[in-house]
């Protein structure tokens, strides 16, 4: 579904954000992007919504060629890919309900349908009672839920979450991840950038590691290679056993013949 081929990003300052990234993410996967601050996680997510262009390489999401996507189609792409931004990007002068309504208005949804969808989303993230409140009246965890609800408003096939547990206590962080897992169970592909290794270990999902813009690990590839190597080992073992048996047989034959000669 998402394919990155030899993607590099060098910023105007000359700093390399990403270097020769090759990556495939299938539909319905839950992927953790892990790495230290400045490792390129956010850059990768920004490239996926054409917030910036790569210096080289190709990016495809489904049938969309992101790099050569015409300017006028970018809004369509962004309606298909929901994003939970690191700084949430909620409008402080609008109520929670109005914030979630925004993508629906932008997409030109019918007023009544949009209002119903807002209620549905607020129920889903457990925040219906806060609908008329303003962002400033909610806690960090609650705001994260609102940001997730807004990202899900147009039922995107892909949800990008940039450090959604960044400033949260452990319990709230796990609540958020549980919510994302439930969303993933409904078929939404989720790419979550994080540096919280406790969450990564608990969920046991695919993990892609980045360091200084380079791909340093991908559990999907390593599990595949592990599977391949164990299969090879098994085959080798089986082959070895057969050869041992053959050798043993030959040994037996040789020893009986020498015994016969000695008897003679």
């Amino acid at each position: 579904m998402i394919h990155l081929s030899n993607v590099s990003k060098v910023f105007g300052t000359g700093v390399a954000g990403l270097a020769s990234i090759n990556l495939d993410i299938d539909k319905g996967e839950f992927v953790f992007l892990v790495g230290k601050t400045g490792s390129g996680k956010t850059t990768l997510l920004k490239l996926l919504i054409r917030e910036m262009l790569p210096t080289e390489g190709t990016i495809t999401i489904g049938e969309w060629d992101i790099v050569s996507l015409p300017e006028k189609h970018i809004p369509l792409l962004r309606k298909k890919v929901g994003v939970v931004f690191q700084d949430l990007k909620l409008l402080m002068d609008r109520t929670i309900g109005e914030n979630i309504l925004l993508p629906l208005q932008v997409a030109g949804r019918d007023v009544q349908d949009a209002a119903n969808r807002v209620d549905e989303l607020l129920q889903e993230v457990g925040m219906i009672e806060h609908k008329e409140k303003f962002p400033v009246q909610l806690s960090g965890g609650e705001l994260q839920r609102i940001a997730i609800a807004r990202a899900l408003a147009l039922s995107p096939e892909i949800l990008l979450a940039d450090e959604p547990t960044g400033n949260l206590d452990e319990a709230t962080a796990f609540d958020i991840v549980d919510l994302l897992s439930r969303i993933n169970e409904h078929g939404t592909t989720i790419i979550m950038a994080t540096h919280n290794m406790d969450i990564v270990k608990k969920l046991k999902q695919r993990v892609i590691g980045l360091e200084s813009g380079k791909l340093i690990g991908d559990t999907k590839k390593s599990s595949k290679s592990q599977e391949t190597s164990s299969k090879n080992e098994k085959e080798a073992d089986q082959k070895g056993e057969k050869e041992d048996k053959k050798e043993n047989k030959e040994d037996k034959n040789n020893s009986s013949e020498s015994e016969k000669k000695e008897k003679k």
Binding site: P75, K79, K89, P103, V106
Partner: protein, 287 residues
């Protein structure tokens, strides 16, 4: 949706909105004043054009044949819109009517003293001079009188008013466009974060820009309406005074369709100015 967003923009920065409306009102007040002045001047010129502008007084010995020949040649020239022959007896009647309150003057004058004349109106005011020259060359004509100074002065003044009006309106329109685009630009800058968020969640450029364009149109239309209202109210209030000043020149009171036409014309201009100024800001600030 766009209307409610536009209304929110205006409601949240009322002083900027007021400044935009006032500058538009000032522009359209100038547009209205010069429209009234030019229309009034044209009315006055038309009035003078409809009056006999050249009078040729015939010699006593001029024959009817000579007068008829002159009339025919003037008609054939195409520069004359109307002609009226005033005989010696007609001239006496006019003289008596004009001096009916002075019996002494009436006693002294008879039809023989007064010359017959030909009163001529030109199709175009610029032909007056050539008509006058033509008449002076005719042997049957004693003297030619025409309102050269009045009409020439009026034409000069009207042209000056037109030029000054067009220049002032153009200048005020440019100032309005820049001030409006600065005000709309300020509003866009103020909403930079909101615009960025909207772009990131898939809003098209025009979805974001439309409320700002509507805002520009709103300022233009409201400013134009108030400019028209003030100028029309002043014109209506001063109509009796101006009628006395113009002494029977029938340009006032202005007909209702003049006010309606002026309002419609100004509203069209306001929409154009509003769209242009807000688009200028949108293209500059929303990438």
């Amino acid at each position: 949706m766009h209307w409610s967003t536009m209304w929110n923009h205006i409601r949240r920065s009322p002083y900027q909105a007021l400044a935009a409306i006032l500058i538009m009102m000032l522009t359209f007040l100038a547009v209205s004043v010069f429209t009234i002045l030019v229309a009034g001047s044209n009315g006055v010129i038309s009035y003078f054009e409809s009056k006999p502008q050249v009078t040729a007084f015939f010699k006593d010995e001029a024959t009817q044949d000579q007068i008829t020949t002159l009339e025919n040649s003037l008609k054939a020239s195409g520069s004359v819109s109307s002609m009226k022959f005033v005989s010696k007896n007609d001239a006496l009647k006019i003289y008596r009517e004009q001096n009916k309150n002075d019996p002494l003057l009436l006693e002294l004058v008879t039809a023989d003293v007064l010359p017959a004349s030909l009163e001529i109106s030109a199709t175009n005011i610029t032909d007056l001079s050539s008509i006058s020259t033509y008449l002076q060359k005719d042997q049957s004509v004693q003297e030619v009188v025409y309102q050269k100074d009045v009409v020439a002065a009026l034409t000069t003044w009207t042209n000056a008013v037109k030029i000054i009006g067009v220049l002032l309106i153009a200048l005020l329109s440019i100032v309005s466009i820049f001030i409006m685009s600065i005000i709309v630009g300020l509003k866009i800058s103020h909403k930079k974060d909101e615009i960025e968020i909207m772009q990131l969640i898939g809003a098209t450029k025009w979805y974001i820009s439309n409320p700002f364009v509507l805002e520009g149109i709103f300022y233009g239309v409201v400013g134009a309406f108030f400019g028209w209202f003030v100028s029309s109210a002043v014109l209506l209030a001063t109509t009796p005074l101006l009628e006395t000043f113009l002494k029977g020149i029938p340009v006032l009171p202005a007909p209702w369709w003049f006010y309606v036409g002026m309002l419609l014309g100004e509203l069209v201009l306001a929409v154009i100015l509003g769209i242009f100024s807000s688009l200028l800001a949108v293209m500059r600030y929303i990438k």
